[in-house]
């Protein structure tokens, strides 16, 4: 026993994180002490301001040139270039999600009330609402931020849970279709917990192998130890299962459609954008920082996973009849495209920066488009809630050309049609993959190109179902009792507007966004 070293914590670097968590805590206190009628009017500005503030802090940190080169908080958190970029993206996206949450009518008045019971009716008529949603969202966002920046597996695990637990709850709070929502919540929870158990066991194995859970520590242990240690391989596969689950990669994607469909749409938007971004950040970090030495072992597996993810996502999406389910499968397919990028990150540093930058860029554009698309989904409503079934969307182009046009544009961006941001995202990732393939000169080159071809085929398949929706909206006759398009609230309008702006703007002039991504990636992950 030679005592403890008193840890140091760089509060400045962690400020955005702390701000979000702090605001979440304050939100809880507001719930506790503010009178009911005041809560919403306190919570909304609080959430928005904290997110904006955190974003500003990120900007300030970057602007001062203060991107740290060593991990903060005793090596627990790495606030490096990619982290800051991902933070910025998550914060902006979650800002959008909060604006959508702010809309009335998405959340149940009293979650504990049995659907269809007198309790519920009473809660509805008394105009009750769960303003707890806001702190929960903030906690989830905080978890996302930490998840993407965690520099050791323990912090990553904790962040994973901090991110997931509020989301489990939020999923179950949809006001309409309560049963679906609760079911989504249950499924998400059980599967999520299951996967985090895998993550944890993998972590245990790796700890057994390396004697540490810090990512660089693992890398170091691998550089000296045997790479064929069963502990390492087993641990790594289990860890991978946990992580891939979160991004919804192919064999572990089953939760996504269910959860996306059942959850309240603003939450779906948050999950589809923020969670994916954060989880990708974590995946990248684990694969690049910790497992960089194990290239050859994980590569083929990842190849299969990536290919499977793209194909499964694209093909199953075709059979969907619900718009949110379809977007969920689309999100799976996009996760696959992102994995192509992950595959490309194994080269020497500057090469890696290129791949990394491609992924970051993809995350940025995909996130915005997704939030925008879900925001549109919230606006098309039936008497019973959102018009989920695709047949209800028929002829929307006639009823509301503007909205349908915007949505079509988002779909085209998902499909990766040129002059939308989605195209450049896809291009960036494909280019990174091909480049990593052409340069190595080994057989991996052909594999990577092959993967890109698979990606292209998947894109073509995916384009089919995006186009199908467009066909429905524009080329079909509207049903007589079609859904109504509600006038968007200020927040939703802003979300859609910004998403559209980014999708168009990046589609025409991607350079500024690319510059930022490049700059963020140039520092690479702290190793």
């Amino acid at each position: 026993m030679n005592g403890f070293e008193a840890p140091t914590i760089e509060y400045g670097q962690l400020a955005p994180l702390l701000l979000v968590f702090g605001a979440a805590c304050i939100g809880v206190l507001v719930e506790a002490f503010a009178p009911r009628y005041l809560r919403k009017s306190i919570q909304v500005p609080l959430s928005l301001l904290s997110l904006i503030g955190a974003f500003a802090l990120v900007i300030v940190q970057v602007a001062r040139g203060g991107v740290p080169t060593t991990a903060s908080a005793m090596g627990a958190v790495a606030v490096d270039g990619p982290s800051l970029f991902i933070w910025g993206v998550i914060l902006v996206l979650s800002l959008g999600a909060v604006l959508m949450v702010n809309d009335d009518g998405h959340f149940v008045a009293s979650a504990a009330a049995v659907p269809g019971s007198a309790d519920e009716e009473e809660a509805e008529t008394s105009g009750g609402a769960h303003t707890e949603v806001y702190p929960l969202v903030l906690f989830a966002v905080g978890g996302m931020l930490l998840f993407a920046a965690s520099h050791d597996l323990l912090v990553m695990f904790v962040a994973l849970e901090v991110m997931s637990l509020p989301l489990y709850l939020l999923c179950g709070l949809a006001r309409r279709r309560r049963l679906l929502s609760q079911e989504a919540s249950l499924k998400y929870f059980l599967l999520g917990a299951f996967s985090s158990a895998f993550f944890l066991y993998g972590m245990a194995m790796i700890y057994g192998y390396a004697g540490t859970v810090s990512l660089p520590g693992i890398s170091q242990a691998m550089s000296t130890g045997s790479l064929m240690d069963p502990l390492l391989l087993l641990g790594f596969s289990l860890l991978g299962v946990g992580l891939l689950f979160k991004i919804g990669a192919a064999p572990f994607h089953a939760w996504k459609p269910d959860v996306y469909q059942g959850a309240p749409t603003p939450i779906t938007a948050l999950m589809a954008s923020g969670t994916l971004v954060a989880a990708m950040g974590a995946v990248l970090r684990v694969f690049w920082v910790a497992l960089g030495n194990l290239d050859w072992d994980w590569r083929p597996v990842m190849w299969v996973v990536a290919a499977l993810t793209m194909i499964v996502g694209a093909i199953l999406a075709i059979t969907q009849t619900d718009i949110k389910r379809m977007l969920a499968y689309s999100s799976i397919a996009h996760a696959g495209f992102l994995l192509i990028g992950v595959m490309a990150t194994f080269e020497a540093a500057e090469k890696n920066a290129a791949s990394l930058s491609a992924i970051l860029f993809y995350l940025l554009v995909y996130g915005f488009t997704t939030v925008g698309a879900f925001a549109v989904v919230t606006m098309v409503r039936d008497p019973g809630g959102e018009a989920g079934h695709l047949s209800r969307w028929a002829g929307l182009g006639k009823r509301s050309p503007l909205l349908a046009g915007v949505f079509a544009f988002f779909l085209l961006a998902f499909a990766g049609i040129p002059l939308t941001s989605g195209f450049f995202g896809k291009y960036a990732v494909f280019a990174a993959a091909v480049s990593s393939g052409t340069q190595t000169g080994d057989s991996m080159g052909a594999w990577m190109t092959g993967l890109v071809v698979v990606g292209v085929i998947a894109s073509a398949i995916a384009a089919f179902f995006y186009v199908r929706v467009i066909v429905l909206m524009f080329f079909s006759e509207p049903a007589a009792d079609g859904p109504t398009v509600v006038a968007p609230s200020m927040g939703t309008a802003v979300v859609i507007g910004v998403a559209l702006l980014v999708t168009v703007g990046v589609g025409l002039f991607p350079q500024p966004a690319l510059d930022i991504a490049n700059q963020a990636a140039s520092g690479l992950f702290i190793r």
């Binding site: 494909f430 280019a431 052409t438 186009v467 524009f474 991607p510």
Partner: protein, 519 residues
């Protein structure tokens, strides 16, 4: 840095924005604005074309701006002879199409009140048309391959909406088929584009710099395949042609003209410029199978056309046959054949355009695309029938009409091609000549069934062409006849450009280069 091309591209897009932003109910104004814009573009293009000097640099009116430095992408435009004539073709067709589809979006009704197409948004249609014009100019003008690709893909979207929203009964099926085919090809091309970029390792997509950059034959072949499949889909070559008859048949006449007349040319244009020049070795290696495919296209298209009962589908299949000729010409690797192919692209645009339009006018009177529903139109509407006949004859390449020159050049060039030793492709040329006969069969049969013979009951009430329709068709017919007798201005512009191509193809094989240039 010449501002010509950027201006040409900017004008229609601005026009499209203006049209789209017009207040509700100003449909007429929208049409007028569109017409005006397209005419302005046409005039500007012609003014620019006059300044083009065939003996000058290969690419003229060059403009380059940095666009996405991270990807090495530039906004690079410039035209050589082939591109120039194709741009000219596009900008000439657009005002004609505008006029031709003046009433299409208003909902097409036949004389007896059958609704063929319900009323749709006029403004959207015309702004899409203008956007499409920009992209057509852009795709031919792009010297940056990435930019080319972007236009190549983006072009699909306005066309997709034009077919899907304004087309016939099966429109959404046709539109989706069209989009997916093209998109798939495009994505393969994207892979090839990316591969090209990294394999060349020059950090740029500029076409002139990439010529000769790829030396490794295997790489060339892969990349060639990527490009070629995309172009083959675009310029429908058997066996990836099946989208065209559907799309052309379902599209409104105006859109069909642009689709077949211009959009598909991008495919053959791309083969000529990119496939050949960037990957000469691969091109040579693949010449034989491609020429075989082209011949199959020629014959197959013609035979199937004979069996068609739907006028628009028939025209579409004739186009497949014609595209076969063009592809054959491109890959015959001789200057005559390639010049002919390039010329054919233009002439086919005019001829098929005229045919589609006149067929469209006919159909709009009866509401049925089926040949069997017509008969004896000649007596009721002689002017219409006259135009129909001329257009049809242009389609079968009657001497004296423009297509003849180009078809002849292609066949002669192919016959005398040195690509596989002297007369190596002669068989192809001879076989393809059969198609000339078949062409006579399908066109004349259609003309005979639709125009001649006893006047069908349903045709009796037909009005002859009105002024607008005459104004639409007259210039086309004039051009068809004019270039039929005097193709020199076009050839003057095209030939030097084709020579460049051949030079680039044969960089590593000077013997053939000399022969090619000497022909």
């Amino acid at each position: 840095m010449s501002p010509w091309l950027p201006i040409l591209m900017a004008v229609p897009v601005l026009g499209a924005v203006v049209v789209a932003l017009l207040p509700k109910g100003s449909d007429k104004l929208a049409k007028q604005v569109t017409l005006l814009v397209s005419l302005v573009v046409m005039v500007l293009t012609l003014v620019m074309a006059v300044q083009f000097s065939p003996r000058g640099d290969r690419f003229q009116f060059v403009a380059e701006y940095n666009w996405i430095p991270s990807f090495g992408v530039k906004f690079g435009v410039g035209v050589d002879g082939v591109a120039l004539v194709l741009i000219a073709l596009s900008v000439v067709l657009v005002p004609i199409v505008v006029l031709a589809s003046w009433n299409d979006a208003d909902g097409v009704k036949t004389a007896d009140g059958t609704v063929i197409a319900p009323k749709r948004s006029v403004k959207t249609y015309f702004s899409l048309l203008l956007v499409l014009e920009t992209m057509m100019i852009g795709v031919f003008a792009a010297t940056d391959i990435f930019l080319f690709y972007i236009f190549f893909e983006a072009m699909l979207i306005p066309m997709y909406f034009m077919i899907g929203s304004y087309g016939g009964a099966q429109r959404s099926y046709a539109a989706v088929k069209f989009l997916l085919y093209s998109l798939f090809g495009g994505l393969l091309m994207l892979v090839a584009v990316i591969g090209l970029y990294f394999a060349a390792g020059k950090g740029t997509f500029m076409f002139p710099e990439l010529v000769g950059a790829i030396q490794d034959p295997a790489t060339q072949k892969w990349l060639f395949a990527g490009f070629f499949i995309a172009f083959a889909i675009k310029a429908p070559l058997v066996p990836v042609h099946t989208w065209l008859p559907d799309a052309a048949a379902q599209a409104p006449a105006g859109a069909a003209v642009l689709l077949v007349g211009v959009l598909d040319k991008v495919g053959t244009f791309g083969m000529l410029r990119f496939c050949l020049e960037l990957f000469p070795e691969a091109a040579k290696a693949f010449t034989m199978p491609i020429v075989v495919l082209a011949v199959i296209s020629i014959i197959y298209g013609a035979i199937v056309a004979i069996g068609q009962t739907d006028m628009k589908r028939l025209i579409a299949y004739t186009s497949i046959s014609h595209f076969g000729f063009i592809v054959m010409g491109v890959f015959a690797m001789s200057q005559v054949a390639q010049s002919g192919a390039a010329l054919y692209m233009v002439n086919h645009g005019f001829a098929t355009g005229a045919l589609f339009l006149v067929a469209g006018f006919l159909i709009s009177r009866r509401g049925s695309p089926y040949i069997a529903d017509y008969g004896g139109v000649q007596k009721v509407a002689p002017v219409l029938a006259g135009f129909f006949l001329v257009a049809g004859l242009a389609g079968l390449s009657l001497p004296g009409l423009s297509s003849f020159v180009s078809e002849f050049m292609v066949m002669v060039g192919t016959y005398s091609s040195q690509a596989f030793g002297s007369g190596g492709l002669a068989v192809a040329a001879i076989v393809s000549a059969v198609a000339v006969i078949l062409a006579a069969v399908y066109i004349l049969w259609m003309v005979q069934r639709a125009l001649n013979g006893p006047t069908a009951e349903s045709v009796k009430g037909f009005k002859d062409l009105n002024v607008r329709e005459v104004v639409v068709l007259a210039p086309l017919v004039a051009l068809i006849i004019g270039f039929g007798f005097f193709p020199k201005p076009l050839l003057d512009v095209i030939t030097p450009s084709v020579q460049h191509t051949l030079t680039n193809v044969d960089v590593k094989n000077p013997a053939i280069a000399e022969k090619g240039a000497g022909e």
